[in-house]
Symmetry: C5
Subunit: 125 residues, 5 copies
């Protein structure tokens, strides 16, 4: 039954990202920034180790936090970088670096600077 | 058992929207804004590809974020646009555009303008 | 096994409310405000359509958002209306209206008024 | 398989608290405040009705909200009362009362007083 | 099928931490701070009791809250300590102490001090 479902939905991919299942399409992961590490991970022409690591449901295992990846995935879906107030942009920046989504890194670095509260980063004395 | 349950609940539809299961009715999706892309997606008279893409549980796969879709779904349920402070209206606007829910786009565009923090969007220098 | 479990826990009811499973008791749903639409939905003496709509796990399907229903359920549990800052009271008010929980509607309408930000509701020009 | 797993993990207990599965140990629930109602509920020497109410996965059913119970559970784990800004302490206080965790009630009542916004509780006019 | 999947993904580990499933790798848990209690828990050379406590899905049971553990896990993944505004750093500090991640404790203690609101901790009178 799982096999059948996967055959019928071959464009859809589910990621197990840090324990959270996120569903998207191969096109979203590979077409917006074709040179990114993320695109390389999900390009079938690549002979890489990622595709041999799936959980019991067939979702691709990635050892990263889903919360900070989701704004990047939405950016790949529709081209807008949208971050809720409750999400620390520093976390999104780390994921942009890891997955090699370079086009939004300058914007994220700017948001991280703006988000820093002076009292937050005083050196230890 | 799944088949039986689906027969008994034919008015209810479950969406797998970006990995999150959201349950609603066909009426909610199609009756409030019958001309929208969302309504078209779930009108059975349409011969479209959407209905052939379901996950293992029978939920319709949509490559969009659930978080920003939910305020739209609630609007279709009861006619009020209600957005929590923790949800960026710019994300809801993107979904309204994608699903073609035009009646709330002017309101969402206004909320996005009000939500912009001057320091957030200074150009890169 | 499902049948057995349900027999043993006959006082507990699980709702599938918009895709989210919420577990409570029939007493909570029906005893606090016996005249409400919610109480009517779950009174066995009623011959209504609700009880024929369950998902695969036996949870009663309701096409409403769980997030805004939960403060109402807690009110029915212990008599206090408690809303987190991150939850828009306007959403809770819509659910109180839908489920006919009239005792908290004046309080919710007051909270909605207090929550309105002047700049949020300027008319479109 | 369920039976085997439960045998091997006899110290761990899963609660189905309002539909959310929370996993902890019997020691956490019973040792920190042995006189509390919560400890009584999970003391095997007690002949009470709680232990006959489990869901299909063997989790103990409790008709309360998980969100406001979790700070209490963490307090029982490590002795610190830690509440996020997004969680209304009034909700935690209700759970402390219900489960009979008396040691933190004065602190919670104080937090509730501090959290009250003057404009929130003006009487209806 | 579970057994097969586990064999194929031997580097990935799923924790059942307070009821929430979190997926990561053994390397993340053990390599960044090899002297920590967390690393010891997941070092196979250790003959400890932890590895005999798994839930029905094979996830390692830990009686702690996932919410406050996740910033620590992310720190172990990429070396940055990133905490959202909605997460109380005092909760993260408790987990850093429990799991013996000493390198971030001074920073967390500093954040806890900065986060204290004067009115929050007035003594009971």
């Amino acid at each position: 039954c799982n096999g059948l479902a996967r055959t019928r939905n071959q464009d859809f991919i589910t990621l197990n990202i840090g324990g959270v299942h996120v569903t998207t399409t191969k096109d979203t992961l590979t077409k917006k920034e074709p040179g990114s590490m993320l695109a390389t991970m999900f390009s079938q022409s690549e002979d890489n180790q990622w595709f041999s690591r799936v959980d019991q449901t067939g979702a691709y295992l990635i050892d990263r936090p889903a919360k900070y990846f989701l704004p990047i995935l939405n950016y790949l879906r529709h081209g807008q970088l949208i971050i809720d107030d409750s999400v620390n942009p520093a976390g999104v920046l780390e994921e942009a670096k890891f997955f090699g989504i370079t086009s939004i890194q300058p914007r994220l670095e700017q948001l991280v600077q703006l988000n820093v509260k002076p009292t937050d980063y005083t050196p230890l004395t």
